[in-house]
Amino acid sequence: MTQPLHKRESLWFAAVAFLLVILLPLADAFGIIDHFTLNTWGKYLCYAILAISVDLLWGYTGLLSLGQALFFSLGGYMFGMYLLLMIGKMGQYKSDLPDFMVFLGHTQLPSFWKPFYYFPFAALMVVLLPGLLSSVFGYLAFRSRIKGVYFSILTQALTYGAALMFFRNDMTMGGNNGFTDFRFVLGYDVRSPGTKRGLFIATAVLLLGVYALCRWLTKTKFGLIQRAVRDSENRVLFSGYAAANYKLFVFVLSGVIAALGGALYVPQVGIINPSEMTTEKSLEAVVWVAVGGRGTLVGPVIGAISVNALKSYATRAFPDLWPLLMGTMFILIVLFMPKGIVGLPTQLHHYWNHWRHHRKPSPEEEEATAELTTKPTSAE
């Protein structure tokens, strides 16, 4: 029973990969879809990567982190530093220094900026800085056995603190305006349709890679322990596993995944500023995961894309109502669709059965039938 299921999933994966990496870019190149649409989808795919990172923590390990927007933004900032330096003398002030530094009266580049002229260094920092921050924070939090809502609050505080820091001009990271007006990436014009297409493909490949990695990881014994930590951390400790190490690993991995998404997000939207790392942004990502279906890997992707598509429409049609709409949606989903969009078919199937038999199956029966119809074991 496992084999056909695996096959069907691989087919789906291949089909989506073909659509994202080949079909959509070709459609864009031949003018079937416009450049704006492709660019918008590139942005959605970055959000989908962020959403997977949230779900890996929340849905799979039971850690509701409100700090994922921070790691996403840090990745964006690290890559943004490279992009900003690549502007060269083409800025408003025709200086070698980025515009905001000239504006603030700097006469030379701060030393920590200098290595960011080199793409490999910037790319390394995209992974390294968020990885380091999540390691230190995670180590301290998990060693002290901070759990549940306290963990959420701490991650929220971390994000908030970082945003305040980045808002400051003397941090020389662009203050509240952040970085913008990018021109070149690896020598190509960032604004040209060709480069944008390239960035879209890169994002699609990254998303597919992250998906495949997480898919594999959650099927290993590690994945079993990860979900065991979520369901019964006590039992995990009394089964000899150092739960803190497992949580730390997931936290760092999620931080790095979010950062990679952020690094590709910045050249596509053309701006990064501290408002991207506020708690609201982290919460939005949590909503995407809840809407799509947490504890699955397809769910966050579907959630990120559908909620953002809705947002694009709603913020144009009735901008003032969007936050209300999103809040209402979140509450309704949590109350009535705990498994999100992905869980909807099963849920409808249950209602259908219920309606047909005019009775509710007992919980044991439900569990048993659910078990028989889904996967047998992942330990094989």
């Binding site: 014994k221 979900r227 369901d231 006590n234 089964s239 596993y241 739960a243 078990e371 074991t377 330990a379």
Partner: protein, 252 residues
């Protein structure tokens, strides 16, 4: 140098003024099946919490095979070979029965190992053996959450067997079981005695009589040992009758 597998001496533990464990000393020989009884609040579960590192005593010593347990945390103590079944069944409800046992097997507990390891034939075989013992072979692919209460209790005992623990600490294994299930649980525990050292905490006196045929019974009262001996000795002891059986007799 120490003939006891587990020795606890002069343990004290208070929770905001309430003395849960009061100058408790307890010695366990290898291969014993020891039953611990006592009225509610006597400190039975608190004592297991101290052994397994869930809480730390205020004073006293705890030794297992000449290892000092006090500086160790839960998973370090587990790795010495001390397994625990909780009072309320604590299994991974969203995992299958098979996966529950797989996670409990001995071997490396490292993160990297868990990522790259694959289930080995001998591990599969061991799991099947345990499934046979706890009579859950048919339900190996069921989610543990879908099991009946008694079966969850058995699964949790199975998890200790999979671990191959030297010392099994079993907290109220018969709670919520039918008479027949209780009897079968008793037989299971008796069959394990000798190969493992077992401490069973129990309320049900019929069950206690069944499993302590050849073993010793320790009566706890107000956080310390009231008396210790064969089940007949304990049941005829006046102090025990007064604090425990006497009170129980009144309520029945």
């Amino acid at each position: 140098m120490n003939k006891f597998l587990l020795s606890a001496e002069g343990l004290n533990k208070s929770f905001s003024g309430f003395k849960a464990i009061n100058n408790l000393s307890f010695y366990l020989e290898t291969g014993e099946l020891r039953t611990v009884i006592g009225p509610n609040g006597a400190g039975k579960t608190s004592f297991l919490d101290l052994i397994t590192g869930r809480t730390k005593p205020d004073t006293g010593t705890l030794n297992f095979e000449n290892n000092d347990l006090l500086p160790m945390n839960e998973y370090e103590i587990y790795r010495l070979g001390i397994g625990r079944k909780f009072q309320t069944p604590t299994v991974y409800t969203d995992h299958t029965v098979f996966e529950n046992l797989y996670l409990s097997l001995g071997g490396s507990r490292g993160v990297w190992n868990s990522i790259f390891t694959r289930i080995k034939p001998e591990q599969k075989q061991r799991i099947e053996e345990v499934l046979e013992i706890i009579k859950l072979t048919e339900k190996a692919q069921w989610k543990a959450g879908a099991l009946a209460h008694g079966q969850k209790q058995w699964l949790e005992i199975g998890m200790l067997l999979a671990q191959n623990a030297k010392l099994l600490l079993v907290d109220e294994p018969a709670a919520g079981m039918t008479d027949e299930e209780t009897h079968r649980t008793g037989e299971l525990l008796l069959s394990l005695a000798g190969k493992h050292t077992i401490v069973v905490i129990e309320h049900d006196m019929t069950f206690v009589r069944q499993i302590s045929k050849n073993g010793r019974v320790t009566v706890l009262h107000q956080g310390s040992v009231l008396c210790e001996g064969s089940v007949d000795y304990v049941q005829s002891n006046e102090k025990v009758v007064e604090v425990y059986l006497g009170r129980k007799a009144k309520t029945v």
